[in-house]
Symmetry: C2
């Protein structure tokens, strides 16, 4: 089957480009001795997680317990939930899952550490903990080295928890378009983390892992970086938002759409807010890259002159790959214009 | 089970309020002799479509063929696809489905009319057609009464098509916050449509239905309106965007979320861009209605002082109900704080 024979809207992954992006990421990280623990949130597809592991990733990062469950049940054996899990029934399930693989989670309160210890004890498992250190994102995490040490000591004291290290994600920086600002801020955060590591060392605590970073900051990592793991996700697909950052990866994710109306000065397609995540900007039409685009729920309009006809198929680059993938139940994998497989978006809608 | 015992994020529908909104809509429309053909896009849930039919709706409007299929297979017998269907395999399926119930669709080109006739002929069915007249939305539809008449005559000449009337949806007006502007523009469009009806009458063509309008304009309809059907959808749930328009319906849709972090000046919850449609604005925390809110993929932060604790559950009003519902596989139906049913979002992700 040809890509052009798919009914639309259809979400398409170009496997040749995806594989090239995976290789490029490993080429960037290997010389630094930094591991890749790619973020599942960008594809939510266990088939692709396996490709990442085969391509050199150490394990997988995810956002929610329900995603971790999907990964573990698909045979991924090293999973990090890069957030706090606080609801009692979820914490208990986490304790169970930690007995099935190497499972890590972020913590930022003593109360949560107590909950996790009780859950792991109930199942005789070990939960690996990363202390989340807020380096300016102002979301979760603690903000002082002293608090970080208090939490770390509580983890070290808990018989069923293991101290894995520090989670430090500067999400506010990922999409900073000015390279100078991005680079300067990243260096500042590395400095902050280095201070934390010295403070820990002075207090007799070794930190095995510093996990974080994104597609937008991976190029900024230099020899001697404090990060031991990079949690980038978008590098594999790329999108309109990361294009503006110029991260050097290529587009492998496209939305195939059908023209439903044409008029002087506009082309209207059958894909809208229910098939394209626009929280980081509108999609870009591959054939009209500079055309202004506006969206409604099921339509997308490019304002430009064209020779398009109703029924013609057009490709779009999503503004944000992660929120786009989360709208689809399946992805079409293609090579050279042919469909070679269809895989489920395993964890679509898994936000618990 | 209590609502507060649900794991989060969970999408909640307050049935008492939903039923009250349905009654209010019928009270607004009945005196005008205008029928309700509510838009499925707001809930995508066949169980709720049946409630609307039981509550006085004439039939259901939807956006896509795949939604129409779900409605028809759920026993809804009068379905309008308020868009053009142009892909050849879809047009053929439409011809088949038109033999299973009263199925209507919008058209705006002669070529599409020819396709529809061929499909209906192949199955010996009748497809009901609405000519889409663009009253300023600048998306699909024709823009002159002469073109409308040409299309209508082509429909009347096609043995397997039936001319149902005119589709005229002023989507650009639905969220206009200034009542004066909204009211003036709505009156102007009614005038345009009246001219079209006169022109058709002079040419010997009677128009049975004028279908369109939204939650935001339903209150503007007066006795003698040209509209015979209203396609409102949001009235049933309401959301942050329609609040600003003040349409007079109450909120029945809420997102239940858990606090995962608190700090001086902020409360962070476990619901983000993957559980809340933000294309018409951020969600509103019921407990902190004036707090500025920012969002990331799996988090939502209210900037305010509070006594919230980690693990506490909070309710949010989605910024846009339609794109929020499309993120969830199920809705919890509640009365007085108790869960009374869980229904699938039948057509979640059905964008074909």
């Amino acid at each position: 089957m040809l890509v052009s024979q798919l009914e639309t809207p259809a979400l398409i992954v170009d496997l040749d480009v995806l594989e090239q992006n995976q290789r490029r990421m490993m080429e960037l990280l290997r010389p630094l001795g930094v591991a890749l623990r790619p973020h599942y949130k960008s594809h939510k597809c266990t088939a692709i997680a396996h490709m990442q592991i085969a391509g050199g990733a150490k394990g997988i990062t995810c956002a929610k317990l329900s995603e971790a469950e999907d990964l573990i049940q698909s045979g991924i054996e090293d999973v990090l939930i890069a957030n706090q899990v606080v609801e009692p029934a979820k914490v208990m399930r986490l304790g169970y899952l930690a007995g099935c693989c190497r499972l890590s989670v972020c913590v930022d309160t003593l109360e949560n550490i107590r909950q996790l210890e009780a859950a792991a004890a109930a199942f005789g498992s070990t939960i690996h903990c990363l202390v989340e250190y807020d380096i300016g994102m102002r979301r979760c995490g603690i903000t002082t080295v002293e608090e970080a040490l208090v939490l770390t000591k509580a983890i070290l004291d808990a018989p069923h928890l293991s101290f894995m290290g520090i989670q430090a994600y500067a999400g506010q920086l990922s999409h900073e378009e000015d390279f100078g600002v991005r680079s300067g801020e990243a260096a500042k955060f590395e400095g902050q983390l280095r201070e934390l590591l010295s403070f820990f060392r002075e207090n007799g605590v070794e930190v095995a892992e510093v996990s974080g970073a994104s597609t937008g900051t991976v190029e900024l990592r230099k020899e001697g970086t404090v990060y031991t793991e990079v949690q980038a996700g978008t590098y594999l697909f790329m999108d309109g938002a990361y294009d503006r950052v110029g991260a050097g990866f290529e587009h492998s994710l496209f939305l195939l759409s059908t023209v439903v109306s044409t008029t002087e000065g506009r082309v209207v397609c059958d894909a809208g807010l229910k098939t394209l995540g626009t929280d980081q900007g509108a999609p870009v039409f591959v054939d009209f890259p500079t055309a202004p685009v506006n969206m409604s729920e099921e339509h997308c309009t490019a304002h430009c002159e064209s020779h398009c006809k109703v029924g013609e198929k057009l490709m779009l680059i999503p503004g944000h790959c992660c929120t786009t993938v989360n709208l689809f139940d399946q992805l079409y994998l293609v090579r050279g214009g042919r469909v070679v497989d269809r895989v489920p978006v395993t964890s679509r809608g898994k936000s618990r």
